[in-house]
């Protein structure tokens, strides 16, 4: 069947990026994989009405984020939101940036986290984020501002710490900036 072949091509092309988005949302590669699988399965159900790759990708992202948010909603009672990163066993004195960032992201409420990932990692515009999350652009802007402020407080110390511990963040930034153009 044509639609199955088309979907397989689409899923293969799009799943690496979707999995990264999912990972930044949930912080765990296994859960990320599950999220992508669930989202892609839902996309397949509606595959016949989705026309082009861009529409399909936007739809897949929306489904992914909504699946993540729905799961968060279900799990809320057993999870605690804290202002502090959770304890990590046997952490080296200079924690990897990776862990620090994930811990910082974990302090954000699910929707705020989704806004940060979509806007600053997936490079979606405010309008696109609003459409993805099904909320107003004003809401996206206020969520971004609040989440950034929070990340700044949580990450602020860590950044200086990790820089002091020999991680030349500024230089690294510059490198990446030129890479991005």
């Amino acid at each position: 069947m044509g639609s199955v072949e088309e979907f397989t091509d689409f899923a293969a092309a799009t799943s690496p990026r979707l999995r990264r988005t999912a990972f930044l949302l949930c912080g765990d590669w296994h859960t990320a994989e599950d999220l992508v699988q669930t989202a892609l399965a839902k996309v397949f159900v509606s595959w016949r009405r989705i026309r082009d790759q861009n529409t399909a990708h936007a739809y897949a992202t929306r489904t992914l984020v909504n699946t993540y948010l729905a799961q968060k909603e279900l799990k809320r009672p057993s999870e605690f939101l804290t202002g502090q990163p959770p304890d990590r066993p046997a952490q080296p004195s200079a924690p990897e940036t990776r862990i620090v960032v994930l811990d910082a992201l974990a302090t954000l409420p699910p929707k705020g986290r989704a806004v940060v990932v979509l806007r600053y990692w997936a490079d979606l515009s405010v309008e696109q984020v609003a459409r993805t999350l099904g909320c107003s652009t004003g809401n996206v802007k206020s969520q971004s501002a609040r989440s950034l402020a929070k990340l700044r407080t949580v990450l602020g110390d860590v950044i200086s710490e990790s820089t002091a511990a020999g991680r030349p963040l500024q230089e690294h930034d510059t490198e990446r900036d030129t890479g991005h153009g």
Partner: protein, 442 residues
């Protein structure tokens, strides 16, 4: 911390990414399971459009006065399509899905014995011949269309119809059945900038049950609209955003008409003068309806409607079009004379399908999330008291005499008859399976 450094930090968080597992295959498997189990019953599925679309021929047939159908075909019967898994629900896939067709006597509202469409059958799209004697059931697993005798309830020999049959329409004389083939002759990976140039429509002679030469139309034809005079069939192609007229006398395609957005659903006025295409998820016109004059085969200016227009119906006098906006929970009335949209009419959450009674007085809209049917007075365009019909409202149909509206609830597996005189629900009729489509035989 500025945005750039945040971006870099987020990239850093991705270090140590493990290799990809068999995600594509797993999601495909899960998707097939979902698709079969829910049979496009998710709010964004295809059967909603089908449900709205296929009831139109029956309604039109009845609206024009007593048709020969009513005498030839006997008593009116509502056919309800559903299905179940023959195996374990969790492992349900294409091969273990069994489609069923439950006939309901319109006179008594009693269900008859379900007709088994066979294991591995799709059966979510069907048309009835104008004489009411035959029902053609689409089957997208085996890529065939199967005739069913409404007199005996027996299935005929399956007819090969392209590689992925989708929308169907039959000429008013009942001689030719047109079937969209959603699969394309040369399927390419869907990459931006690479487009497959055309799709096909297969004409099938109902007398001999043989498919003719496929007719080239736009890419990914989803739906066929039949002009009331039967002279032209219009193939609505979602992939190329076109509407292609086909002469039913010669089975030749005319020049395609370009429309904005990606037309997934379309409707033709009962007088055959105007076609309305509904643009949905496409980037061009996400929430608009485009009129096409059939006299000149030209598209007019898009008309702004609510979010995600998903179904359309007309009053029998062709004066008003009602567009169902799935995401807004509203119905937009459009005057066909001026092509101006009126004030949106609030209905339930996630409205799916709409029918207008043959006398044109009331439109009935079914809503998925709210599980209600909202009657709308077409004289005043105001909604009446909603009628509860069970969770996951999906398909809706009206009987040719206009006395009863049938509303299907996927979750309850029931079809609720609604008296159009009193707008009250009768006892729900249990059809066992998840009813996705209702076709009424005159």
């Amino acid at each position: 911390m500025d945005e750039t450094s945040l971006r870099v930090l987020l990239d850093d968080a991705l270090t140590g990414e493990p290799p990809l597992g068999p995600m594509t295959q797993n999601s495909l498997r899960a998707g097939l399971r979902l698709r079969r189990r829910r049979r496009v019953l998710s709010a964004t599925g295809g059967a909603a459009a089908v449900a709205a679309a296929i009831t139109i021929p029956a309604v039109i047939g009845a609206a024009g006065g007593p048709s020969p159908a009513q005498s030839a075909g006997g008593k009116a019967v509502a056919y309800v399509f559903g299905g179940h898994c023959s195996g374990n629900r969790r492992t349900c896939n294409l091969n273990s899905w069994t489609g069923t067709l439950t006939p309901i006597s319109v006179a008594t509202n009693k269900p008859g014995r379900p007709i088994d469409l066979g294991t591995g059958s799709g059966g979510a799209n069907a048309v009835v011949t104008p004489d009411g004697l035959t029902l053609y059931v689409e089957n997208d697993t085996s890529d065939t269309v199967t005739p069913l005798s409404t007199a005996t309830g027996k299935l005929g020999k399956p007819i090969k119809a392209g590689r992925y049959p989708d929308g169907m329409a039959i000429t008013p004389d009942g001689r030719t059945l047109y079937v969209c083939d959603l699969a394309t002759p040369s399927v390419q990976p869907p990459q931006p900038g690479r487009h497959v140039v055309h799709g096909t429509v297969t004409p099938i002679s109902t007398a001999t049950g043989t498919p003719g030469t496929p007719i080239k139309v736009g890419y990914r034809p989803r739906m066929i609209l039949m002009a009331p005079d039967g002279k032209t069939a219009y193939a609505v192609s979602q992939g190329s955003s076109t509407v292609t007229p086909i002469s039913t006398a010669t089975d030749r395609a005319g020049k395609s008409i370009k429309v904005p957005g990606d037309p997934f659903v379309a409707g033709i006025t009962p007088d055959g003068k105007t076609i309305y295409t509904l643009g949905s998820m496409g980037s061009g016109a996400p929430s608009s309806v485009t009129p096409i004059s059939t006299a000149t085969d030209t598209a007019g200016k898009p008309i702004q409607v609510g979010s995600f227009p998903d179904a359309i119906a007309f009053t029998p006098d062709s004066k008003t079009a009602f567009v169902v906006n799935a995401n807004s929970g509203t119905v937009t009335p459009i005057s066909t004379a001026t092509n101006r949209a009126g004030k949106p009419i609030r209905v339930g959450l996630q409205p799916q399908a709409i029918v207008v009674t043959p006398n044109g007085k009331t439109a009935y809209v079914i809503s998925y999330t709210s599980g209600i049917v909202t009657p709308i007075s077409t004289a005043t365009n105001t909604p009446g008291k909603p009628i509860s019909i069970g969770k996951e409202g999906y398909a809706i149909a009206v009987t040719p005499d206009g006395k009863t509206v049938y509303a299907a609830s996927l979750a309850s597996g029931t079809v609720t008859p609604i008296s159009t005189d009193t707008n009250t629900a009768g006892k729900p009729i249990n059809v066992g399976t998840r009813p996705a489509v209702i076709v009424v035989k005159p």
